[in-house]
Symmetry: D2
Amino acid sequence: MDEEPVMDVAHLGHLELLTPKPEESLRFFVDVMGMTESGRKGDSVYLRAWDDYEQFSLQLTAARTAALGHAAFRARSSQALQRRVDAIEGSGAGIGWIDGGFGHGPAYRFHDPDGHVMELYYETSWYQAPKELRPALKNQAQRYPARGVSVRRLDHFNCLAVDVKANREFFQKYLGFRLTEQIVLDSGEEAGMWLTATNKSYAFAYTREAHGVKGRFHHITYAVDSREDILRAADIFLEAGVKIETGPHKHAVQQTFFLYVFEPGGHRVEVANAGARLVLAPDWRPIRWSEAERKKGQAWGLKTIESFHTHGTPPLPGQHPFDNEVAGEHDLLEKGMAS
Amino acid sequence: MDEEPVMDVAHLGHLELLTPKPEESLRFFVDVMGMTESGRKGDSVYLRAWDDYEQFSLQLTAARTAALGHAAFRARSSQALQRRVDAIEGSGAGIGWIDGGFGHGPAYRFHDPDGHVMELYYETSWYQAPKELRPALKNQAQRYPARGVSVRRLDHFNCLAVDVKANREFFQKYLGFRLTEQIVLDSGEEAGMWLTATNKSYAFAYTREAHGVKGRFHHITYAVDSREDILRAADIFLEAGVKIETGPHKHAVQQTFFLYVFEPGGHRVEVANAGARLVLAPDWRPIRWSEAERKKGQAWGLKTIESFHTHGTPPLPGQHPFDNEVAGEHDLLEKGMAS
Amino acid sequence: MDEEPVMDVAHLGHLELLTPKPEESLRFFVDVMGMTESGRKGDSVYLRAWDDYEQFSLQLTAARTAALGHAAFRARSSQALQRRVDAIEGSGAGIGWIDGGFGHGPAYRFHDPDGHVMELYYETSWYQAPKELRPALKNQAQRYPARGVSVRRLDHFNCLAVDVKANREFFQKYLGFRLTEQIVLDSGEEAGMWLTATNKSYAFAYTREAHGVKGRFHHITYAVDSREDILRAADIFLEAGVKIETGPHKHAVQQTFFLYVFEPGGHRVEVANAGARLVLAPDWRPIRWSEAERKKGQAWGLKTIESFHTHGTPPLPGQHPFDNEVAGEHDLLEKGMAS
Amino acid sequence: MDEEPVMDVAHLGHLELLTPKPEESLRFFVDVMGMTESGRKGDSVYLRAWDDYEQFSLQLTAARTAALGHAAFRARSSQALQRRVDAIEGSGAGIGWIDGGFGHGPAYRFHDPDGHVMELYYETSWYQAPKELRPALKNQAQRYPARGVSVRRLDHFNCLAVDVKANREFFQKYLGFRLTEQIVLDSGEEAGMWLTATNKSYAFAYTREAHGVKGRFHHITYAVDSREDILRAADIFLEAGVKIETGPHKHAVQQTFFLYVFEPGGHRVEVANAGARLVLAPDWRPIRWSEAERKKGQAWGLKTIESFHTHGTPPLPGQHPFDNEVAGEHDLLEKGMAS
């Protein structure tokens, strides 16, 4: 008989992003993305999308350089949390418990094989909207803002990793994540992997770090309801002078309808369509993409933009999101338009 | 040989709406509809949608009761304007010239057979967006606001008339409007007519006044790009506590995808899909709907709501938009939801 | 410490619908809904939506009257299946094992408290598209048909029950389903419940049977990607002469964007937007709707249509879907239109 | 006083495309684009979109090579037709009258300065749908097909011209077309122009022929209702193995949301969003794009694909649509996907 799947992780909870431009980053997420500030503590501002049920899904922390602070997952129960902590401690990747602080209870911290800081918690604080943000329908966490992109909820994140395979095996073995899709090069090296703990087809992805630098972050993604919402987002980013890296277009992998931009702090931010795609099969058979298949570009033929393979946070020496071609042009474009 | 069509009227220019709650009405059009204030003069505030090329498309004027101040059409040329003025003066419906004032040049005023005040002008003032509202693309009048419904442009209006046929004939004979659709009862009485001067299938409609009162107004309509924008508008109205009368649904007549709400001053406001429907045939054959056909409700079977046949502005004694069933329920709904 | 959630049921697998008009029902699901026939056996035809990963999600079986044959759920593992079977047998609701036959392995049958036949299985057969139906992207089960509504996957079903509470407790206690929303009348009687085993907010709903008849079926629902797809479906149903009962509109409960029609056999069929709404919280707090709240109609104010509370399959004596007001009108409408 | 605008041309009527693969081209327009065959005559098949009010908008004619047969415009009246014919004859560009034949009355043929054959007619034949194609709503020409892309109506076409300015002046002076947007290089040379006779912002465009060859065709465009319809079209083309050249994306010029593919005969075909954009101003001020502005790519930053500047029909020696990069890759992509 097959081994039974471990179901201890419930879902991705939140990300902490370090930004060298805290004020500009905050304005981007609130005014352009349409998110809501739900609290402040120390150097951090806590932000939420209107459909997030917890207090926050994004912690913006002032820092010298743009980087991932940590990524946090919520466990399915207190027992499930303890089981995973025991497993991780056995792996030697453990860091230890922290109090939790704003928005959730005690959390256990650990490193993935690439050095990113991860967090696991169960006790959380449900968001209670103040009167002016109370929704008309009681089965909704917060009023729809109708401001800017108005993103719905945190969808997933993407890290870079020097050894994709090692990270995949770590999250599968010690946390029970399930592999839905992956990229395997002709050499046998894994260039990308998409893992999930829910019926969403992925909670996060790791793609190959081509520069040998550990711990870098690729992008954070917020979900909207439809592809039309993403086209609308492209118009909003254009009007707001936000640098569009690539998209809107459809990924072949996972079929995500995507749009990538850079927030003022330098992080890549994606707006994607949560759509109707669900992985319901408990024994899903992972899709393996070959090197030849990936060379073909995106679903409708768009070439993958070069900066997608190089830019991450922290940026490498001499690398800057605004150096990328599209963004540079975009500057000129605006000047041209204004002339 | 057929008579050649008169092409002297270019398009609907703007409406003046009188409102007993000027401040609340202004907040509705700016905060919820996403329009922009472009000027003030006397008791009037001038508003525009982001794609209107002239200074304004809506003049809100403080008054004792809600009513149509006037509706204005732009002529195709100064010569065309003079031709129409000559024709109207010959009809005996003329009122005379006014200076024009904010946003456009000299205008000729006249009454339609039901007593509504109409205006015709040619000289106008093109909108020049201030820096903070300048669009990224130079072929657009103003930056997309991404606030509330963010309506695109004035689409059409609807008046009530005791004698629909007399009004239809007046606008066809003296202004050169073309009939695209109409409702004719078994008795032969005309219950509704839709006229156009452009490739849009209508610039305005007149429907039967069932209470024998002349000069009443039925609704003003702003256009958005897609049906999805209208569903989004319904969510925004719901969250803002705006009274939804009926919709979203699809009209059988003109196939307009509609949503009707009441603004604080009491006027019925429609958000509709400008869509892709165009009347290109110069010799379009008017669609005639019979009494039996209209009894069938809307395109997908929705019954026409009763208040649609009774409510207009000014409201009749004892009539108030918020008395209507949907709105009343809606109040309770929100209370219920909040409990 | 809280009890840990049971995660043994993976998802809703398929429904068997009995139809007195097998040929017409088949044409409806293939030509209008855009589904694909994947097999036949005995009096049954097996149908699938393009994103269903198993062989089929709908079994149409010729019969004297329209009714639910059975509803089937897939277990998460063979061990999970055995645990649920043990629990159900303990409840006294068990019927026993069947071979399974087309598309899946051995299945255990049982009755819910209202007498509907349910099925639980684990072993299944994955769909392999023939060459002409092979998708361009390998992470998709079948080519997008672009025919009719082109529904994506089975979404949920709705049964009527004389005792809603008893059924809710049964599915929660013996199968581990989780309650997300419910309707509780002032009398304390439960009038509706929505249960899930996934991150979808419900796999099925049970609403109150007002006529004291057990075992009746309310509707089957297929999902599409966007609300626009549902508006498009309404146009397609209108053109195909399919009876539209109500919608498109947005439910307050679960916020489902809905459209209900009747298939030729008499079953109510819903096309709904799977949308981006997910229930991620492992400890979701059920939403309880009061009698007063439900009296308010749907999200945007539409009154709940009367037939929604009375029509089910099998229909009651003298009851017929085509007797309902909307459908009747719709007939006239078409006649009117054609004249 | 300004000169009055000439309003003699009503709208673009149809295009004749020559194709070396008549059967494959027909299958593309009927099965993938969702058009309807309305007649055959000689080597031609006549096709229509569901919202075209005339018999056809596309005449496919078997020929040795892919090329534009002719483009035809409908005049506003018989008098308007005679006025334009008189003007064109005065210009020396006239060819003469033809009987018209299928779908319309006598037509006058002439050459534009680049040698493309154009046609002007007034008398036409309105489409009467056979019973099985009769729409549910009588204000619609034909039933919505719900097959493939299901394009709504002919939108515009694009020719290449060695001397763009000469062609612009010809259509403005002799036919009364109005310029809405244009591209003017630093050298003063005109590289593109968009003209209209309706409230649509263009009926056709001419862009610079970089190879000195006269009479080439760039693309034909059919309109759908929304941007979502175009994303859906991209999925349909992908599934059907149709070569996608570029898009979906948004043009800066005219803000058209576009998707370009190649039909089997070699012609570039665009599906675009008719959207809500209308040019209502009778004295519209043409938008002039500079060389620097156009170097910036499309609205959201997509680079203009190289083949867009080189490929036209007939193709130049050694040039073939399937040679273009995207299409080539796409082939590999499909092989890769299938492997």
